[in-house]
């Protein structure tokens, strides 16, 4: 061991730069991002919240089958996208629609999975956003591969690979972190620890001092950050991206946050947690916190706030309009993308469906 391996351990407490009352707190290692960055982040946060709430409403209206909201986790979502360059990749989970949107994906396309039109509604190459991953942690090895390929070609790409606290228990989490470390792949593993995996609380998921303590076991530096503190997230994730880009290998960041709503609208959270627990987290809301901070410092005027709200409204309207449009599904699509060109078997099967449809039409 060349230097003390304990350098790989996270700080005892999550990094925090702005406290729940909106006051900036000191950190020995990270500076509060500049005002413009924070303002921009607030705008994105307001849009993010609006998107979450709009999507949720669309579920109730039957336009979306299901929506795993990141309500309460918007600071993580916004930061994950905001610290990346255009050529960097984002690997989101089903809960990270807002981060994908932050990276440029059209929210209507981002939700086509949950609307039921098609699995992945956007072109992953356009904004370098991988398809939403449903099987937990299975996207993490892909992130390593994307990063490794870029590095082989000497490209400066960094990959942001997201997962939840529950996802850290899967074997693929382990294999991905280990591969990334051994190959020094420029991946930032970003764990949103929102205290629950559906109904299962963190204590049943892990007995570790923190999830960031998993890093040292791979030779990866772990860091913990207050996941409802926009400033700290931008600082910590930004630094991690910079280190990965500089060739320092993978990074592991754990954000401490909270899933404010049920797992999805189909879930009943009252079966496994108290309202009181939720209420305590409402007081730590990432948006109010940053707003208070910026207002207290005179940076956020009512006019700017109105502009942010209008922009959020615009995005919500776009989402609503998009999802209210009915796409007529084309059964040819079933067979068109399984292979580059359909096998003879698939051609036969497609013909059978076409025949059925033409006979139906003839009725």
């Amino acid at each position: 061991m060349t230097s003390d391996p304990r350098r790989l351990l996270p700080s005892a407490d999550p990094v925090s730069l702005i406290d729940p009352q909106g006051r900036s707190a000191d950190s020995p290692s990270y500076a509060v991002p500049d005002d413009a960055t924070l303002l921009r982040a607030l705008g994105s946060l307001i849009t993010a919240r609006r998107l979450n709430d709009q999507a949720y409403a669309l579920v109730r209206q039957g336009r979306l089958a299901v929506y795993p909201s990141s309500h309460g986790q918007e600071a993580c979502q916004v930061a994950a996208a905001q610290v990346l360059a255009a050529d960097d990749w984002l690997f989101p989970t089903y809960r990270d629609t807002v981060a994908a949107v932050g990276k440029g994906v059209d929210p209507v396309e981002a939700l086509s999975l949950l609307k039921g039109d098609w699995h992945c509604g956007y072109d992953p190459y356009e904004h370098r956003v991988a398809p939403h991953a449903t099987p937990l942690a299975t996207q993490l090895p892909h992130a390593v591969g994307v990063a490794h390929a870029a590095r082989m070609r000497g490209e400066p790409t960094v990959v942001m690979a997201m997962c939840g606290d529950g996802g850290t228990s899967e074997g693929d989490f382990h294999e991905a972190l280990n591969f990334a470390a051994v190959f020094r792949a420029p991946v930032v593993f970003f764990v949103q620890n929102n205290e629950y995996a559906i109904s299962v609380p963190l204590a049943r998921q892990s007995a570790a001092p923190s999830l960031a303590h998993k890093g040292i076991g791979y030779g990866i530096a772990g860091e913990r950050v207050d996941g409802n503190d926009m400033a700290a997230l931008l600082a910590v994730l930004g630094a991690a991206v910079a280190r990965a880009r500089a060739g320092e290998g993978p990074q592991l960041i754990e954000a401490h946050t909270y899933r404010m709503q049920a797992h999805t609208n189909a879930d009943d959270a009252t079966r496994y947690r108290d309202d009181a627990e939720v209420a305590a987290w409402v007081r730590r809301d990432p948006i109010t916190r940053l707003e208070t901070h910026l207002r207290d410092r005179g940076l956020l005027t009512d006019e700017v706030h109105a502009r942010f709200t209008a922009e959020a409204e615009r995005v919500a309207t776009h989402l609503r309009d998009g999802l209210n449009q009915d796409v007529t599904p084309d059964p040819d699509d079933l067979f068109a993308y399984v292979y580059a060109s359909p096998t003879p078997q698939l051609r036969e099967q497609a013909a059978l469906v076409a025949d059925e449809l033409s006979r139906e039409g003839a009725h």
Binding site: D117, H119, T134, P135, V200, Y272, V338
Partner: protein
């Protein structure tokens, strides 16, 4: 461990959904045998995403029905160890496709431990898999994965189609000396039936004729049984008498019942939701043809899912073998030779 007194055998007739029948089977099995333990993702306080384990932690305590970390290989692997050491674990895979991370444990250990050890180490355990489609689920929530298990020697593979069978087969699976992959057709969870519990018959390995008929035999299991029955109903109105066989058990396979049925009609259609290629439906065609060749007036037809990944909700109705497709296949059975 606290052993609760076994409840008085229930004899009243009740209307139960398949979900309720499964829940009751688990409850009765836990009451009957303190070695029965349930675990998996969200099976505790939440009672499972389909509520199949609802109330069991409250009734039997956290030690008997508990949540694990989120890792399917770990769940099945831990069940292997517990089964090796005197318990009868019943684990839940949250959805069909989420059992794949446990594939290595299932194929290399669950299926092989007894054989590996010359019968010294048995693995009495049940892997419950809510499976198949028809509920508008997104990707990875609708796979018909029975072929993977059925092709793996050492596993029993069953799929109930009625609440009564759900109860009977699950009770038998839990008390069986060998591992059982227990496939629960999600779209039938809410289907109801009048049942007098406890039903314990017929056992694993037995197919049943669900409807008598003389012109052709429909062979189905799990989610396709109601489709076959509906097709038979419609065909009857059109003057064609279709027999319906419900396999119930894929492994072991009830050759006797199935072949007797096919011989009695001379024509057959297999109905199954899974992709057809190298599947359980291929096996049914192959083995019934091998055994009943001379009795067949026409080749056995298959109505199955296409060889494509399970489609998104808005397209799934194209994938599911429906009544029309079954009746078309029946029409194709060379009636005017």
């Amino acid at each position: 461990m606290t052993v609760l007194a076994s409840p008085v055998p229930k004899t009243e007739v009740r209307t139960l959904s398949m979900a309720q029948a499964l829940n009751q089977a688990l409850r009765d099995a836990m009451a009957a045998d303190p070695a029965v333990v349930l675990f998996g993702e969200d099976v505790g306080a939440l009672g499972g995403v389909f509520r199949i384990t609802d109330g069991l932690t409250a009734e039997f305590g956290e030690a008997r029905c508990f949540d694990t970390p989120l890792a399917e290989s770990g769940i099945v692997g831990m069940a292997v160890g517990m089964a090796m050491n005197g318990m009868r674990p019943v684990v839940e895979m949250q959805f069909d496709a989420f059992a794949y991370p446990a594939f290595e444990q299932i194929v290399s250990h669950v299926a092989k431990m007894r054989n590996r050890t010359r019968g010294r180490v048995a693995l009495p355990m049940v892997i419950r898999v809510p499976y198949a489609g028809g509920i508008g689920g997104v990707e990875h929530h609708c796979d018909s994965s029975e072929a993977y298990y059925a092709h793996t020697p050492g596993l029993h593979v069953v799929a109930p189609a009625t609440p009564a069978d759900a109860y009977a087969l699950l009770r038998e699976a839990i008390s069986a000396p060998d591992p059982v992959v227990f496939l629960e057709p999600k779209k039938l969870y809410w289907s109801k039936q009048e049942v007098q519990l406890p039903v314990r018959e017929p056992g694993i390995g037995t197919a049943v004729v669900r409807r008598e008929g003389t012109d052709a035999t429909l062979i189905a299991y799990g989610p396709s049984v109601p489709v076959a029955l509906e097709a038979a109903e419609i065909a009857a109105r059109e003057g064609r008498s279709l027999q319906v066989v419900d396999l119930r058990s894929i492994v072991p396979f009830d050759d006797e019942t199935v072949c007797a049925a096919v011989r009695s009609t001379g024509r057959a259609v297999v109905v199954a939701e899974a992709a057809g290629f190298a599947s359980v439906s291929s096996e049914i065609v192959a083995r019934v043809t091998e055994r009943c060749f001379t009795a067949l007036a026409a080749p056995i037809r298959r109505v199955t899912g296409f060889d494509i990944p399970y489609p998104p909700p808005k397209l799934e109705h194209f994938q599911l073998p429906g009544v029309d497709r079954v009746l078309d296949a029946v029409d194709d059975l060379q009636w005017e030779q």
